[in-house]
């Protein structure tokens, strides 16, 4: 029943082939959807430009993930510690996901200036949410048997968290983190709309306005690769940390 790993290549190849074919057969202008071959050529040909901007965005992403992690862990813990607090904060957290960047861009500028801070914050706002929700659900899903055990041991909340809830919620945490690092890329790009001078998002906006759509998609390819890389890294961490599964 086990499928050969050839499936992987076959699927990836057929997706790309279908795309390439549809670009060539249907008269779809290349500034609407460039064929993957053209994107690949641009992604390589403009590598120095892309790499320089990817560096900027990459740093924003990493910092954004760091900030998001700190906020998410703190929030999920606090909300798990107190159900009323959860009820009070949840609407604000959900609201934070409904705010489009243009509405608060001037605010970000006022608070964080034009430096990388505003981009990092914007990325973090997008990343922290799936992590917080997943971690909280993980905490809450803990087996009552174990909760009782820790209560009987007279464990303080901090110790319960460290020895019981945290390891219990780890698989949930990683599910959230995987979503988080995947949307981190778009988070940083959106952040770069808040007045920046560099980065893949900045590059994309400019290229799009000039109808250099192949460059837009090449930037997306670079971004995607960064996302996939982060995902793989998280997968690696997961296998190391959740060693008992």
């Amino acid at each position: 029943m086990k499928a050969a790993p050839g499936i992987a290549l076959a699927v990836a190849f057929s997706i790309l082939a279908a795309w390439e074919a549809s670009c060539r057969l249907i008269p779809l202008p290349d500034f609407i959807l460039p064929p993957p071959s053209a994107i690949a050529v641009t992604a390589v040909a403009r590598a120095p430009l892309l790499a320089a901007n990817a560096m900027v965005t990459g740093l924003e992403i990493v910092a954004g993930i760091g900030l998001a992690l700190a906020v998410a862990v703190a929030l999920a813990t606090a909300m798990f510690a107190s159900r009323p607090l959860e009820r009070a904060l949840a609407p604000f957290l959900i609201a934070s996901q409904a705010v489009p960047v243009f509405a608060i861009a001037p605010l970000l500028v006022i608070w964080f200036g034009y430096g990388p801070a505003s981009k990092v914050v914007m990325a973090a706002v997008i990343i922290f949410f799936p992590i917080t929700v997943s971690l909280l659900e993980g905490f809450k899903s803990c087996d009552p048997g174990y909760r009782i055990l820790f209560r009987l041991m007279g464990a303080s909340f901090g110790r319960r968290l460290r020895y019981l809830y945290w390891p219990w919620a780890l698989p949930y945490f990683f599910a959230g983190l995987k979503v988080g690092v995947s949307v981190a890329t778009i988070g940083a790009v959106i952040g770069e709309w808040v007045g920046s001078q560099a980065g893949l998002g900045y590059l994309m906006i400019q290229a799009n306005a000039r109808l250099q759509v192949d460059l837009v998609f090449a930037a997306i390819v670079w971004l995607s690769l960064m996302g996939v890389g982060l995902w793989a890294l998280v997968g690696l961490l997961e296998r190391r940390w959740v060693y008992w599964k």
């Binding site: 174990y146 009782i148 009987l152 041991m153 007279g154 110790r159 020895y163 390891p167 060693y243 008992w244």
Partner: protein
């Protein structure tokens, strides 16, 4: 001394414990024996506050208490070992939760591991050892609680006859040398007779005390003692009648 006065309990429309009185002498070994599903575990859960909303009174050392959460070490029927902790770490949990000196606890746990035949498996995860070994580890953990009262819910059910015997003598040592008050649930009539100062026979659901037998013969006792053999037959008869009715 532990006194239980007029405890009643039911789940939904199922009456589980119907007015129960029980006294367990301080420093004594009380054994509860009764049909499967009669409410023994529920009684322990009420005593430790795991199942809330008890009616009736619990008196410990002459003072009425809400429950025995902070007084009793409780070994539950399920082993409830943390899957991400090695056997040794699992055993050290109560010490960690108390913020106790870990050196001392480690020494103590090491001794218990040897006594219970777990030496060499300190670093194994619970999923990597046998059912009996998990049960023994849970027993070690319970013994690490350092509480004056010990509640054991079928602590030896997964063990072979020989290992069981050696652990029975260990329990006796625990009672005698450390002056612990022990209340134990078992299904094994012979085990009950070997260990008990007071043997309590429980009825079917709704559970009441059918008979209390005080055993004064000195310990360690021999299973082939004709007095015990006769008692064994009587107890089996009582239980038999209760179940056939």
């Amino acid at each position: 001394m532990l006194e239980i006065i007029g405890i009643r309990h039911g789940f939904r429309d199922l009456a589980v414990i119907g007015r129960m009185d029980l006294r367990a002498a301080g420093g004594g070994f009380t054994v509860l024996i009764g049909p499967s599903g009669c409410g023994k575990t529920t009684l322990f859960n009420i005593l430790t506050g795991v199942v809330p909303g008890q009616r009736g009174r619990i008196v410990w050392q002459g003072r009425q208490v809400e429950h025995l959460e902070q007084t009793a070490a409780y070994m539950q029927q399920k082993d409830l070992l943390l899957p991400w902790c090695s056997l040794l770490e699992n055993a050290l949990l109560p010490a960690r939760m108390d913020g106790r000196n870990l050196e001392e606890a480690r020494r103590q746990a090491g001794e218990l591991f040897i006594r219970l035949g777990l030496e060499g498996f300190e670093d194994y995860l619970p999923a990597e050892v046998s059912g009996g070994m998990r049960q023994r580890c849970a027993l070690v953990r319970t013994l690490m609680f350092q509480r004056p009262l010990v509640l054991l819910d079928e602590p030896l059910s997964a063990l072979d006859a020989i290992t069981r015997r050696s652990l029975q003598s260990m329990l006796l040592l625990l009672q005698q040398d450390f002056a612990k008050t022990i209340v134990m649930i078992t299904h094994d009539v012979e085990e009950a007779l070997l260990l008990a100062d007071r043997l309590v026979i429980l009825s079917r659901r709704p559970m009441r005390v059918m008979e209390t037998i005080d055993l004064d013969s000195p310990k360690p006792r021999r299973a082939s003692d004709p007095e015990l053999l006769r008692l064994r037959e009587r107890i089996l008869d009582v239980l038999q009648q209760e179940l056939v009715l």
